[in-house]
C-alpha cells in the first residue's frame, strides 16, 4: 500500500466539509419552520459531529453518535411528530415573548461560546491519542475509567430530558 496522493489536503477538505455539515445542520434545525425539517437538520448535524469525532481518533464514538442520535433519537422525535400531527405552520409566538426568550437563549449561547473559546485559546491543544482499537475489552475499560465522567454527564442529560417531558406532560403547554 502506498501513501495517498494529496492525502493531507483531502483530509483537510473532508474535515472542513464535516464542520460545514455540522453548522448547516444546526442552522436548519434552529431556523426551519416545519418541525420535520428541523429534525432532519438535527440528524444532519449529528452526522457532521460523527465525522468530527472520527477526526478526533474516536471511530467508536463517531459510530455511536450515528447509532444513537440518528438511529434512535431522531427516529423517536419523528415518530412523536407523526403521532402529534402538528399543523404545518404554527402562528408565531407574541413578539415580546419571542424577544425575551430569544435574548435569553442568545445570552446562554454567547456565554458558552466565550467560555469554551477561552479554554481553547488559553491552553495548548493536545493531540488526541489514537484509540483505534476494536476490542470490546478496550472499549469497556475506556468507558469505565478514562471516560467515566463523560459517561455520567450523558446520563444527566437524559435525566433532564425526562424531567422536561414530565413537566410538559403534567402542566400542558401554557404558551404557543
Amino acid at each position: 500500500m502506498t501513501a495517498f496522493p494529496f492525502g493531507p489536503a483531502i483530509a483537510a477538505a473532508i474535515f472542513i466539509a464535516f464542520c460545514a455539515i455540522t453548522g448547516a445542520g444546526a442552522v436548519i434545525a434552529a431556523l426551519s419552520k416545519r418541525i420535520i425539517r428541523g429534525v432532519c437538520g438535527l440528524a444532519l448535524c449529528c452526522i457532521g459531529l460523527a465525522g468530527l469525532f472520527y477526526f478526533l481518533n474516536s471511530p467508536f464514538l463517531a459510530l455511536m453518535e450515528i447509532l444513537i442520535y440518528v438511529g434512535a433519537v431522531c427516529v423517536t422525535i419523528v415518530f412523536g411528530i407523526m403521532l402529534a400531527e402538528p399543523e404545518e405552520v404554527l402562528e408565531g409566538e407574541s413578539r415580546r415573548d419571542a424577544l425575551v426568550w430569544g435574548s435569553c437563549a442568545m445570552l446562554v449561547g454567547a456565554a458558552f461560546f466565550l467560555a469554551l473559546s477561552r479554554i481553547g485559546l488559553s491552553h495548548p491543544w493536545i493531540e488526541p491519542a489514537s484509540r483505534a482499537d476494536g476490542s470490546v475489552a478496550a472499549i469497556g475499560v475506556a468507558l469505565l475509567t478514562t471516560y467515566s465522567m463523560a459517561f455520567e454527564v450523558i446520563s444527566l442529560v437524559l435525566l433532564v430530558a425526562i424531567l422536561g417531558a414530565l413537566v410538559i406532560a403534567r402542566t400542558g403547554r401554557g404558551r404557543a
Partner: protein, 334 residues
C-alpha cells in the same frame, strides 16, 4: 507492485465494485425472487425476455429509469426526493467493511460491526421520512408501522449481537471470521461449548434480520393488500427503484453479517475452492432462505409481530446472553 497496491486505484475499484455488486444483486435478486415465487406457486415465473427470463431485470431497469418521477402536490418535495438517497447511501457505506474473503475487504475497520449497525439504523429514518413526505395516509400508516416494528426488533437483534461480541471479544469482522477458521465445528453457530443455545441465537438473529429489512412475514411496511405499497405508494420510476435497491442491499448486508457472525465467513467446511466462493455460497443460501420464507408464510398480524418480539425473542435473547456470560465466567472463577 501490482496496481492494486496503489491506494487510489484500490479505493476506486472497491467503490465501483460495491456499486456494481449492489446494482446487480438488486436486479437479479428480483429475478430470483420472481422465479422462486413462480416455482413455489407451480408456475414458471418470467420466461419471455431472454433465456429463462434472464434479461427481464434489464428490461425492468430501462422501464424504471425512463419513467417520470412524480412528486405529489402537497408533499414535502425536498424530503420526498432525499428519502430514497437516504436508504441507498448508508447501505453502500456498509459494504466498505464486509470481508468477502481474507483479502477482499475495502477497509478493515476495527469497529466494523458497529459501523454496519450504525449505518443500518439510518434506514428506518429514511423510510419514515419518505412515508411522511408523501402526504398519503397509507404511506404515513406504513411509516408508523416501520418504526414500531424496527424498534421492537432492534432490541433482540442487538442482544444477540452482544452475545456474539462476548464470545468473540472484538468488533472487527475480519477478526471474528479468523477465530472461526479452524473448521465448521469452530463456526459460532456450532460452538455449543460457549453457549448451548447458539443455534437458537442464530435463529433469533435471522428472524430479527427479516423484520429489520421489512421482509415477509414481517412486511408490515409494504403490505400490498392492506396499504397499496406502504411508504412507497407515491413513488414512481427510479424513486421506487432506489428504495427497492436499498431493500435488497440491506438483505445482502444482513445475510453477510449473519454469515460472518455465525457461519464462519469465508471459512470452508471441506477445503477446496478459495474462500470468497464459500462466503458467497453461504450468503446466497441465506438470501434464498429469506425468499423461501417470503413465499411460504403469510404476513403476520401486527400484534402477532409485536408479541413475537416482546414475549418470545427478547426473553430468549436475554436468556442466551445470561447463559453465555455464565458459561464464560464460571470456569474462570475456579
Amino acid at each position: 507492485m501490482s496496481f492494486l497496491e496503489i491506494e487510489p486505484f484500490r479505493i476506486a475499484l472497491y467503490v465501483v465494485g460495491a456499486l456494481a455488486f449492489v446494482g446487480a444483486n438488486a436486479a437479479y435478486l428480483v429475478w430470483v425472487e420472481r422465479k422462486a415465487a413462480g416455482r413455489f406457486q407451480r408456475r414458471a415465473g418470467p420466461t419471455e425476455v431472454g433465456p429463462a427470463g434472464l434479461l427481464q431485470p434489464v428490461a425492468d431497469a430501462i422501464k424504471l429509469m425512463s419513467k417520470q418521477i412524480i412528486v405529489p402536490p402537497g408533499s414535502d418535495a425536498l424530503l420526498f426526493r432525499i428519502a430514497p438517497v437516504m436508504v441507498m447511501a448508508p447501505a453502500l457505506m456498509c459494504f466498505a467493511t464486509i470481508p468477502f474473503s481474507d483479502s477482499i475487504v475495502a477497509r478493515n475497520i476495527d469497529v466494523g460491526l458497529l459501523m454496519i449497525f450504525a449505518f443500518g439504523s439510518i434506514n428506518v429514518m429514511a423510510v419514515m421520512l419518505g412515508g411522511w413526505a408523501s402526504r398519503n395516509k397509507y404511506a404515513i400508516i406504513s411509516a408508523a408501522r416501520v418504526v414500531s416494528q424496527n424498534v421492537a426488533y432492534e432490541i433482540p437483534m442487538l442482544l444477540t449481537v452482544i452475545t456474539m461480541l462476548m464470545v468473540a471479544g472484538t468488533l472487527n469482522l475480519h477478526e471474528i471470521v479468523k477465530q472461526q477458521e479452524a473448521g465448521f465445528w469452530a463456526w459460532n453457530i456450532f460452538r455449543l461449548g460457549t453457549n448451548p443455545l447458539m443455534p437458537v441465537t442464530f435463529v433469533i438473529f435471522f428472524t430479527c434480520m427479516l423484520a429489520e429489512t421489512n421482509r415477509a412475514p414481517f412486511d408490515m411496511a409494504e403490505a400490498e393488500s392492506e396499504l397499496v405499497a406502504g411508504a412507497y405508494t407515491e413513488y414512481s420510476g427510479m424513486g421506487f427503484g432506489v428504495f427497492f435497491m436499498g431493500e435488497y442491499a440491506n438483505i445482502v448486508i444482513g445475510c453477510a453479517v449473519a454469515t460472518v457472525l455465525f457461519l464462519g465467513g469465508w471459512g470452508s467446511p471441506v477445503g477446496f475452492l478459495p474462500g470468497v466462493w464459500w462466503f458467497l455460497a453461504k450468503m446466497y443460501f441465506l438470501i434464498f432462505t429469506v425468499i423461501w420464507i417470503r413465499w411460504t408464510f403469510p404476513r403476520t398480524q401486527f400484534y402477532g409481530l409485536l408479541n413475537l418480539s416482546w414475549k418470545i425473542l427478547i426473553p430468549f435473547s436475554l436468556a442466551t446472553l445470561v447463559l453465555t456470560s455464565i458459561v464464560m465466567k464460571i470456569p474462570r472463577m475456579f
